[in-house]
């Protein structure tokens, strides 16, 4: 499966990319995070504390145990600070 992965705010800065296309067999968001962490230190650092990371699947907020089947766009970002 091919996923478009987006990063925002300090996750984007730590990873050094706003978005990338990833081919993966990860079944859940947590599996995908484990794959990304294993890639390089900058990913491991960005995902070192999942309590401060939020995820959206196809632009809807989701949990880390959510399945990725049928998903096209995954976004990782810190807790939101709008208003």
């Amino acid at each position: 499966m091919t996923l478009e992965i987006l990063y925002f705010a300090w996750l984007r800065e730590r990873i050094g990319l706003p978005r990338e296309t990833v081919t993966t067999e990860a079944a859940t968001v947590a599996d995908l995070v484990a794959e990304l962490r294993a890639r390089e230190d900058r990913y491991a650092l960005a995902f070192s504390d999942l309590a401060s990371v939020r995820v959206a699947l196809d632009q809807d907020l989701a949990e880390f145990d959510a399945p990725l089947a049928g998903v096209r766009e995954v976004a990782f970002f810190p807790p939101m600070t709008g208003g």
Partner: protein
């Protein structure tokens, strides 16, 4: 329901007037405006990043939820992104209803939800430092008020 996400400044007075004039048969309008605050005077600028597409979608969902909970004639959300100086207006909400209770409650609800459920991130620039604003536990806790 009117949702606008934009980089350019907006005219709070004109937007409030246009919103109010556009509603028929109402008895109350509540407006709120968020402004770049300069605590201690050191802040030079604030930059707001957002997630184009999801931002509009999240704001629409929040506005739809407000319209389900209260009787509203209309509501307006304008939120800026990009770089802003202290004193600049960041965002506004307006709600219109027959009576003030619904208009106040819906505006309060919109603000609570768009602080922690709409994908915006603030970065503050002061002196040589640039820091992402951390989300406050109180903002997350505020959502509990609405059940």
């Amino acid at each position: 329901m009117q949702i606008r996400v934009q980089e350019t400044p907006f005219d709070y007075g004109a937007e409030s007037a246009r919103f109010t004039d556009g509603c028929n048969g109402i008895g109350a309008v509540v407006t709120f405006c968020g402004i770049v605050r300069n605590d201690g005077g050191a802040l030079q600028a604030m930059e707001i990043e957002h997630y184009p597409g999801m931002t509009e979608r999240a704001l629409a969902q929040i506005a739809e939820e407000a319209a389900r909970r209260w009787t509203l004639a209309d509501c307006l959300i304008i939120h800026r992104f990009g770089r802003m100086a202290p004193g600049e207006k960041i965002m506004m909400v307006a709600t219109a209803s027959a009576h003030r209770a619904d208009a106040f409650a819906a505006a309060d609800f919109l603000m609570d939800y768009l602080k922690s459920r709409a994908p915006f991130w603030k970065k503050e620039f002061s002196g040589d430092s640039a820091e992402w604003v951390a989300a406050k536990d109180a903002d997350e806790a505020a959502l509990g008020r609405w059940g």
